[in-house]
Symmetry: C3
Subunit: 350 residues, 3 copies
């Protein structure tokens, strides 16, 4: 996988990390501690994996300041954030995003009125609709459907079988992973006595720069006004973003999370997996939710929030789950006892 090699000293300079020991060794690849070879650099970010330090064959390891390296032979790069330095070195060494080869595959279907950059690529069986504009160095992957009047900025990648529907606007360097659906109709129905009537979904989806949208994730178009995803947001697989949701810049959302209609999430939030948001909520900047949290109220202050019950042996769980239904009654009985005890004491003290 190696494409180029550098000395450790060069990599330290490029990434502004601190070299310990000789910087002369040549680095050709990156690998996890347990599978690294003698040309590889590795890293330790999660102390869980510390035991692998003793056995690694890596020639150099990126370590946080808190981790002693006295017992080991490898060279060391010191970094506040070893994972970030690792990421940068991996990008320098391996350049894993393949260069885009311009052109339209013979089997693709591009509307006469679409405007594609000369440097963009449209892969096999892809579809590009009327009035759509595609920027420089974009890659429209195989089987992708891009609707009419879509605007796609420079350096975007749309992976296999993704769908980006009519009127959606993507910034620059947006990455849409396979099977994602951007701009599906919002889920809006008005109750009409004995049936539901569709509410026209007239808005679109606007996605900023440097956004990543995961595989099979769905981002619905707004009902009135747009659904908006800010610059730098990173959204994982199988996430639901309902109509008119706004997500602030640089917020990161793990897989399986669902965000109901018109909820607004702040900037620099961190949202764990399978979190559920009710609709019409306001979440402040800098809020973290741990996985499976159930968010049914506004969160006006930054901080870390959680809910859910961690798994336990089923026998124990059954007993606790039954008692959960009695919790209010238990609390009342506790109060009553406290009063009775108070009375007893008072009487005794008389």
């Amino acid at each position: 996988m190696t494409s180029q090699d550098y000395t450790l000293a060069e990599l330290a300079a490029f990434t502004e990390s601190r070299l310990e020991g000789s910087g002369e060794c040549r680095i050709r690849g990156v690998a996890p501690l347990e599978s690294a070879g003698p040309d590889d650099i590795s890293f330790l970010a999660n102390p869980k994996y510390r035991a692998h330090l003793a056995d690694t064959r890596a020639v150099a390891v990126i370590l946080p300041d808190t981790e002693s390296a006295d017992a080991y032979d490898f060279a060391v790069l010191r970094a506040d954030n070893p994972y970030l330095v690792f990421a940068r070195i991996a990008r320098i060494l391996l350049n894993p995003v393949p260069r885009v080869i311009p052109g339209v595959h013979a089997s693709a279907s591009v509307a006469a009125g679409a405007r594609l950059s000369d440097t963009a690529r449209v892969d096999a069986q892809a579809v590009v609709g009327e009035g759509t504009v595609i920027g420089d160095r974009c890659r429209i992957g195989p089987g992708v459907v891009v609707g009419d009047n879509v605007v796609i900025g420079d350096d975007c990648r749309l992976d296999a079988n993704a769908s980006v529907l009519d009127g959606v606007r993507l910034g620059a360097r947006v990455h849409i992973l396979p099977g994602a659906v951007i701009g599906g109709e919002g889920f809006g129905f008005a109750h009409a006595g004995d049936h539901w009537e569709p509410v026209p979904q007239l808005g679109s989806v606007v996605i900023g720069d440097d956004v990543s949208i995961g595989a099979n994730t769905t981002v619905d178009r707004g009902s009135q006004g747009d659904t908006v995803i800010g610059n730098g947001c990173k959204i994982d697989n199988l996430v639901q973003v309902a109509h008119n949701v706004h997500i602030g810049e640089h917020t990161i959302i793990a897989s399986g999370t669902g965000i109901s209609g018109s909820t607004r999430i702040g900037r620099y939030c961190t949202i764990g997996g399978s979190v559920g948001f009710a609709g019409h909520l306001e979440i402040a900047d800098g809020v973290t939710f741990t996985g499976m949290a159930m968010v049914i109220g506004n969160v006006p202050e930054a901080g870390v929030y959680s809910s859910g019950i961690p798994a336990m042996p089923t026998r124990d769980w059954r007993r606790s789950a039954v008692r959960f239904r009695q919790l209010d009654e238990m609390a009342r009985r506790l109060e009553k006892l406290e009063k009775a005890m108070e009375n007893t004491k008072e009487r005794d003290e008389q």
Copy 2:
């Protein structure tokens, strides 16, 4: 986005809502209170947004009876259900479902034995299988796969990259959103000691009229007998409907919900986001589950049901989560104390 305009009086008549003030103003569009212009009608359904009434530039607003309009300049349409009247006016003014242009795109692949209405459309890169019948004014979107022997009623829309597999039957006016999978093989495996053996999934999927199936939602074919979705059901994105599930008419299901095999859900149910249903359950008509509810028993009576723990600061949550495991023990200690207190009292009273 305007395509036609009407006077407010005409719109009041069409929607059987009550006009307050002059009906002569012309309405050209619909918009949220905060972005409406002087040709637009807006509405207030959620009192959360009441503050916008003071600032709106809308020429008319649809209001419930409970909402005073004395302080404002706009004309008023009174309605029991402002959202429904808004939906109808939006459809009248904007007609947002594009007219279907009949024909088969040159890049589509339609089997020789498929029978398509002359008024149907098959878009770019779509596939239609042998023996499949497609009704009037249907739109088979780009990249859609329709299998063999599928029956699709009139006025259906199948959006980009959806898959409707062999033998599935859709009623009229069914809307399948992008990436949805209808008729994938059910998840049936029999335990055979040291491995799992596939159980043939011999049934199909039958979907009634006026059903909407969300983006990347999956509806599996029955193992024996069919999976059935009744008329008028509205199902959101990323929902799982397992084999042999039956969903009664006009039930609405929000995103992320999973329904396990052979569960039967009644008519006119309202199911929040990310609700989980165990298999083989019976849910009555008119049941509402709030988001993230965990349904592991039958629900024989209409009503509103919930579960889950709302998110709270993580520090507080940790403490409560630990105590949850001790709940049964706490309940027993509480009982013991009550008895002791009873004894103390009795003794005191002797």
Copy 3:
């Protein structure tokens, strides 16, 4: 649906089940108890459906030893696992997996350097990339995208609109259901102060033999090293398998479950629907999680584990949910009362 018929005695012999009564009747089909006709065999596995035994028109029924058949006219096959015997008889009678007709559809796009077995099929609008190898009797379904340098073993089925991306390796008899995404980029971003930087995802996905991957499920490629799914695993729809997850052989995972990065799940595990796993966990062999369990710690021992709160009437739930936040305080008050009671007793006994 019948393709062939057998006597009951023959089916008993093929499936090593015990015949009760005459084995001469001819069986032409399989059906549920309530819809079976006089040529069909049915089965009872779930005692919930016992009432249907009295009314079934099936000529024979597969029953466990524990179920008396004295009151009924049908012939009986006795089996420890009626569902398994049913599955095998259904496969014998109906052979539901259609034979693969070799060839490449005219609308498919197969790269010049791909190597396809003569007995494989590539359906309409499918894409097969450079350097990819496809084994005997494989069926690449309509709209499927197979990337470059993929290796697909014999007898695999890739259903409509699935995506299997560059470098993924599938064993033999793997079934990828519609819309599934195998080998999408892992979700790896390093925090860089005011933004997130992508971490190159350099690994791939390796899937063993006899694996099934559900509709719209996503399996991400590893960041370093591969994501690995062992032989015989069965994974349902809409499941997320993050980068570098390892799943042991013959583990079965129901719909909606999410497994975070680098978690390792053992062999022969049974994982219910919508279970959530944190990252970097170790789960032993033979562990069962019930639906919606929240797994945030290692599970070093086989057993059954659960969490979550079963749905209850919303009024009751509100009260309990409020008390949940007070649980720790309640526990402390309980302790205090116990001490007070102890003191009272001691004093009384003096």
